[in-house]
């Protein structure tokens, strides 16, 4: 007899969603299986704390699955999931006011005073030894460099170059103009080049 989970694996996201709407638990679990790693990876790299990332990833999936009836199939399911994951992570960062904002200040700041006011320290140096070991295991240099980016840049660069999403889809996910997304990604790559510049030497 065929295992229903293995047959679900062959279906498209849209078909699995239709089964989830019918209340099939196996379909819910299949959607979690497909997206738990990319969602957790994205959120972890946004918040840099495993426990928090687990909680936020869990919150993301609960939001997604409880709203599955309102999902509109004309949009990509993955875009919807990443949009909710990113919003959840950004909301958390705003609440916590983490100390990982960019050296360059807010991209919306237009005057020197505003730029100075929004320019924060890169890090308060409070990473524990455990965090440092974990960072090394995860690819140390680039992970640390990503952590020093503004959250908006981080979302864009991770979605573009880690998840491989096109600019247009990122713009849709983050509710940003296409030009803004391109600017964020270019600035993020510029900051990462600067941060990793010593590796060339």
């Amino acid at each position: 007899m065929t295992d229903p989970r293995s047959s679900l694996r062959e279906l498209t996201d849209q078909d699995v969603v239709l089964r989830a709407r019918d209340g099939q638990e196996a379909a819910y679990r299949e959607l979690i299986r497909r997206y738990e790693r990319p969602v957790f990876s994205l959120i972890y790299r946004m918040v840099r704390d495993r426990e928090t990332a687990e909680d936020l990833a869990q919150e993301t999936f609960i939001k997604v699955l409880n709203a599955i009836a309102s999902y509109r199939p004309e949009f990509k399911f993955s875009s919807w999931v990443f949009k909710i994951a990113n919003n959840t992570a950004i909301d958390h960062l705003r609440r916590r006011e983490l100390d990982t904002l960019s050296l360059e200040g807010s991209p919306h700041a237009s005057t020197p005073d505003a730029i100075e006011a929004t320019t924060l320290q890169v890090s308060d140096g409070s990473e524990t030894p455990l965090d440092e070991v974990e960072a090394r295991e995860l690819g140390a240099e680039i992970e640390v460099a990503i952590n020093q980016l503004r959250p908006e840049y981080r979302s864009c660069i991770l979605l573009r170059h880690v998840e491989g999403r096109p600019y247009e889809e990122i713009a849709e996910m983050l509710d940003l103009p296409l030009g803004t997304v391109k600017t964020y990604i270019h600035r993020a790559r510029h900051e990462l080049r600067e941060a990793l510049g010593h590796l060339r030497d």
């Binding site: 019918d22 990332a53 170059h161 391109k182 060339r200």
Partner: protein
Amino acid sequence: MSSPHLMHLTPDDLDALLLGTEQERVHVHLETCAECRALVVADRNVVVALESLPSLAPRAGFADRVMAGVTRPVAVPRRLPALARAAALGLVFLGGLAASISWSLANEPMLMAWREGGLKWAEGWLQLGLSGLWAELSRQSWYATVLDAFGSPTRLTVALAGMLLIYGAGLVALRRLTALPSSGTASHAA
């Protein structure tokens, strides 16, 4: 004005190089500009490092923890689309009709016999019922009085006119009772 191939690469040029959609002038420029060659190498290194980042997994039992917070809709059997349901009903109706006609044509004598028998049976019961009702009415104490009241054409006419008047008055009263209040009345009341 400087020639296009002398201008340093833009972020869009770097994007195009990553996608392999760069213009010829980019290659011409890179041949002569060490600064931009270094920029391209650094940019590629960053992108390769990003693309090779490992995919991270949450702790075991993640799906169970998520499912504990999810409210699943109650499974309902799938209904046929409205058009399919209408077509199915139509087919059943037409099939039944066709079966009924063909059976009737094949068993016409039997149907005629049933018809005759049914009519006789209904006629007998109707006669019995009416005669029983008449006998029962004529045995009532008020029967003679009522018969006497309608005994002459004049009395019958008066009685009928009275009944018509009562019926008309009833209709007028009912119409007034069921009429919606007019706006004038409502605003006046307000």
